[in-house]
């Protein structure tokens, strides 16, 4: 089966409901299993020579931070799908992804803060990475607030999508703010903003810099939480489809009442 035909099949909400209904329990179960395994590996690994036992926070902090960004990417891609391809499930996907992405962003902020107190001596500093993640959180809030304050659903969907696409500029900002950006052939050199937060040590052009005893558990956890993210997202999409059916039925009910009245002879 080619990719194309999968998307086409999934485009039909009914089809999506039956497919996702079959997949969801397995996906959720797998996610929990991988998370448990990853955390077990993480907790049995030796403590970090520098950060000591607090390194345990990494196994949840880093996946949350990644999923915060992944969630936004998902919202943005779905929004693009809505605006450009008018894919029937695109808006369902964007709407379902926003609260889940917001939850992981919140978790990245909270676990980061709780890690910051022992490491940096304060829960919060206004450095580039922390600030940009906080802005990402606000962006999620803005998406949800905008949607909830426009009555007409199709209108709300499209406007939210525009906002989501405008907000995409924040993703590179999260990266650049800490690592800086240099484009030699353009002569462009944006320095990193002063920061306490450490730069990427996994996704680097010269390979991961962190020790294997920490790297593998971290990758397992990341995989597990990503699976969980998609399970939650799938559940959210299912709920949203049901909600839209309820709405359609309610409108139909009102129509039927009116039709019945029209048919009934006047008293």
């Amino acid at each position: 089966m080619t990719n194309q035909s999968i998307t086409q099949k999934l485009a039909n909400p009914t089809r999506f409901m039956s497919l996702s209904g079959a997949i969801l329990p397995w996906l959720a179960g797998l996610a929990v299993a991988v998370i448990v395994f990853g955390l077990y590996r993480g907790w049995t690994a030796p403590p970090d020579y520098q950060q000591g036992e607090t390194i345990r926070i990494m196994y949840i902090h880093v996946p949350a931070a990644w999923l915060a960004m992944l969630g936004y990417a998902l919202v943005a891609i779905s929004s693009f799908g809505l605006l450009v391809f008018r894919h029937p499930l695109a808006d369902v996907s964007a709407k379902a992804a926003a609260p889940i992405g917001a939850a992981f962003t919140l978790l990245a902020l909270v676990t980061g803060s709780l890690w910051g107190k022992p490491m940096w001596g304060t829960y919060w500093v206004w450095d580039a990475r922390l600030t940009s993640v906080l802005m990402l959180f606000f962006l999620y809030l803005g998406l949800m607030a905008l949607r909830s304050s426009i009555e007409e659903e199709t209108l709300a969907a499209k406007l939210t999508a525009v906002l989501a696409l405008v907000g995409v500029i924040i993703l590179p900002f999260i990266k650049i703010s800490v690592e800086g950006l240099s484009v030699p052939w353009l002569g462009l050199e944006i320095p990193a903003w002063n920061t306490l937060h450490q730069p990427s040590s996994v996704f680097r052009s010269d390979g991961p810099k962190i020790h294997a005893s920490q790297l593998y558990p971290l990758l397992y956890c990341a995989l597990g939480f990503t699976l969980l993210f998609f399970a939650l997202h799938m559940k959210g999409m299912r709920n949203e489809i049901l909600r839209r059916r309820v709405k359609a039925l309610r409108i139909a009910e009102v129509d039927r009442a009116r039709a019945a009245e029209a048919a009934a002879p006047a008293e």
């Binding site: 907790w43 403590p47 000591g52 036992e53 607090t54 345990r56 926070i57 949840i60 902090h61 949350a64 609260p99 889940i100 939850a103 919140l106 978790l107 909270v110 676990t111 709780l114 890690w115 107190k117 022992p118 969980l228 939650l232 559940k235 959210g236 299912r238 709920n239 049901l242 909600r243 059916r245 309820v246 359609a248 039925l249 309610r250 139909a252 009910e253 039927r256």
Partner: protein, 62 residues
């Protein structure tokens, strides 16, 4: 297991993590049940999905 001097922070972050994710999952499950119930109610009342409405309607109309 000894978590060193910062045990509180480690445990707190795991606790928050568990609570937030559990709350999110619980809400999604509840929402699903709620919507499904509304849907069943509406369908029981005779309203049918759009794709089925026509046939039902035709039968009842003289």
């Amino acid at each position: 297991m000894d978590l060193g001097p910062h045990a509180d922070f480690i445990l707190a972050s795991y606790a928050v993590y568990a609570v937030v994710l559990a709350a999110l999952a619980a809400w999604l499950v509840y929402d699903g049940v709620h919507q499904q119930r509304l849907l069943d109610d509406l369908e029981a009342r005779g309203a049918t999905r759009r794709s089925r409405a026509g046939r039902a309607e035709k039968n009842t109309k003289p």
